[in-house]
Subunit: 512 residues, 2 copies
Amino acid sequence: MPLQGPTGSLPLPNFVEKRLSSSSSSAKQRSLNIDNVNQNVRKAKYAVRGELAVKSEEYRAKLQKGEGKDLPFDSVISANIGNPQSLDQKPITFFRQVASIMENPALLENADVLEKHFGYKSDVFERADKLLKDVKSVGAYSMSQGAAGIRQSVADFIERRDGYPADPTSIYLSAGASSGVNTLMNVICATPQTGVLVPIPQYPLYTATLSVLNATCVPYYLDEESNWSTNVEGIRSALKKAQKEGIDVRAVVVINPGNPTGASLQPDDINSVLELAAEEKLVCVADEVYQTNVFEGKFHSFKKGLRDLQKSEKNRDGKFENLELASLHSISKGMVGECGHRGGYYEMVGFDPEVVAEIYKFVSIMLCAPVIGQCMVELMVNPPQPGSPSHPLYDQEYNHTFHSLESRAKALYNAFKEMEGVSCQPPQGSMYLFPTIDLPVKAVEAAEKAGKKADEYYCLRLLDATGICIVPGAGFGQKEGTLHFRTTFLAPGTEWVGRITKFHGEFMDEFR
Amino acid sequence: MPLQGPTGSLPLPNFVEKRLSSSSSSAKQRSLNIDNVNQNVRKAKYAVRGELAVKSEEYRAKLQKGEGKDLPFDSVISANIGNPQSLDQKPITFFRQVASIMENPALLENADVLEKHFGYKSDVFERADKLLKDVKSVGAYSMSQGAAGIRQSVADFIERRDGYPADPTSIYLSAGASSGVNTLMNVICATPQTGVLVPIPQYPLYTATLSVLNATCVPYYLDEESNWSTNVEGIRSALKKAQKEGIDVRAVVVINPGNPTGASLQPDDINSVLELAAEEKLVCVADEVYQTNVFEGKFHSFKKGLRDLQKSEKNRDGKFENLELASLHSISKGMVGECGHRGGYYEMVGFDPEVVAEIYKFVSIMLCAPVIGQCMVELMVNPPQPGSPSHPLYDQEYNHTFHSLESRAKALYNAFKEMEGVSCQPPQGSMYLFPTIDLPVKAVEAAEKAGKKADEYYCLRLLDATGICIVPGAGFGQKEGTLHFRTTFLAPGTEWVGRITKFHGEFMDEFR
């Protein structure tokens, strides 16, 4: 059961249309056209950077050139994408101090000057020194799966987090989690009948990657009423239905905490997914990039869940022994927010060594993840500890970002609660809210007339009226007959929230 | 006519074999095994980081732990991969000074201290300031195709180089050239019958990517006798043969200067490839990552060749008007050598705008190229100019690297000339030599007995005896019945060249 694509084909950016009209009819025919290129790429949808994002960048460029006098807003707010440092989130000082030395190790030659004039502390020098010994130069390729010392740090982190040892040879450093997902899906997906269970709503990387690979997305729906929780019976029935249709379902993706939902799974939920995976011989892909963005309760990793089960009575027949689990993490999110550095890792446990060798070969073709991004991974998993000179500032910055994300999430949530026809689950984690909107019939008709889905139409009108860019629910998938949108809560201040409230009231009045 | 894979399946790294033996037979069966994963990935070969590279890293680890007393060498020389900064090549100071500020913009607050104690000059601060305005933070995602100001700098560079304007909207910043090749091939390759003409010998990224995409590699052979030149009649006959076999040949790849050959194309060669591409409706993919590694004559770009043809009499019927050319460049090679930063770009001209929109969507799924790598692209294309404060040191560093590469290439070439049964074309460019070896019949028999191809066997024996890692010609493709190997000339000194000479003499004696 392939997932129906949420939106129409990607609109051409303006520059493209300009050149289209200038092409000569007598000229040589081209090799490539829209109908003969890879149709799996054509089918793929990625709304997070689609039509709305392109249009918002055009508005931004117009405003920057001072040509935006006719626009009803004076700034563009990119709430479409989790890009913390493009908005208000400051990088962590310790990380960037170390990175500056990684880029220019000559700075180490006068450490006292850096200390005196720029506040670098001794642990900054020590860390840079350690990382330089490991990678030699951030301008050199590392081993294909990442620098050995950094993978050791990741293993140590996982052990501290979960209370179970981790093996650095099973850890692969990647260019963000996206690249890890891409690698895993490339190896897992063998034929058009290969199926992967994907939550709906989901971050569209999964559906887009499965489209490109011409594999089958098997959607399972998250339960909005119980705060977007993962219902294992829902997964099982989606699985059975797909199997009946001849799909060879091989893997189940869980995003925890959820994107776009923010939902955070409890140990029982995790166990039931793992039990299902064991019974049905599924690879479990745990996308845990928001593991530090948790406002309610605490984060529970799939790796710990698996190790607990392996130790438990439930494993008496060894059914969890070879359960294949790939867990992904990233420097892009959390209080780190270093997405421009493209760093991340995935840990694989239970995989067949011959399959691991194929994964190793696949990543080696792209040589290695960016080395400075690898170093950022090390800093994320091994930050300054209490008692070390850089700890007080690190701690202050980390907490400031955490609390300001939390308070923005709540402010936005409170605004949504007040809005007519909008209902929203309380913020639990990640960087997003994903409210339901209930639009008047006339608005739905107006959308149809404009050739748009109703949620797209709403988001386009919001952008045109306020400069705020959000993503229609269709971009993530949603139950038939429901409408949503996803917004980050990264933008500073509350003025922009007021813009949404005002627009929403006027929009509802227009179509009442 | 798919290219026959040069080597057997990838051997398992040691750590993998260790875990294989510990798997329990009563345990849960896995979802994935070598026979059900994506067989296109399994088919792909990438010898540059294959068995020899893995073995050499094991030797290196052994030596580092002080456990290498039984080895007949005391250091490992990685001549298998163009990784300049892992060997002797120093990063360019100006680039790294700017990068250190990009990582920690707080350094700008005390510019005079950096000037006084660390030799930063005013143009370093100016450049960092300009780049920071463009990207805001290197920790933020840029636009999918790369930061606008950096693409403008690339366009200006291309215009200065070629004498024709370039359009920044047609330039895509990428994570090294490899990621650009991957994007282009993903869009070009639609079915197993899609064919791409690839030079043999070639950098195995091309054959590996075509394998993964299940498209057809159509090999054309470079002419070793005339210094590895590109013979357009050879391309044409490979094309015709493939077409007769039902292959839809859509693109021709040219690596200029060549990898592994070092050959540098002259304007006439470039014109004939472009004429063939125009006549046969082929996308031309010009891999120009070695454009500054040229020791003989000068570099000529395909873009200039195309613009010259478009202005010429030959274009009276407009046949060059829509010729689709993608030219790639990278920060990984040349005197920059910043491969760990994963930066590069490709410029597309003549492409159908609807096809460009698919390329745009494809890259947006992976979000953006590493932003600090994008900044390195800007520094590469816009280095300090004569008269600017950082120019003297930049110039000195650039020339030092250039001349030391050239002199190492010549020393290695001279050593090969003296070796029995080895013949080598004079070094023209890139970072490699690709000599032919003529091995005694007994050596070929010994290789067969060991289950290896003769060139693999030679390279394995060289590694075991000397610690020098090179790549067998089979990894790049070679004419039936010939044997080669590729070695970089990046390693410092000449002692290691002596190790090769000594080994070679002993090897020949053993099998005489």
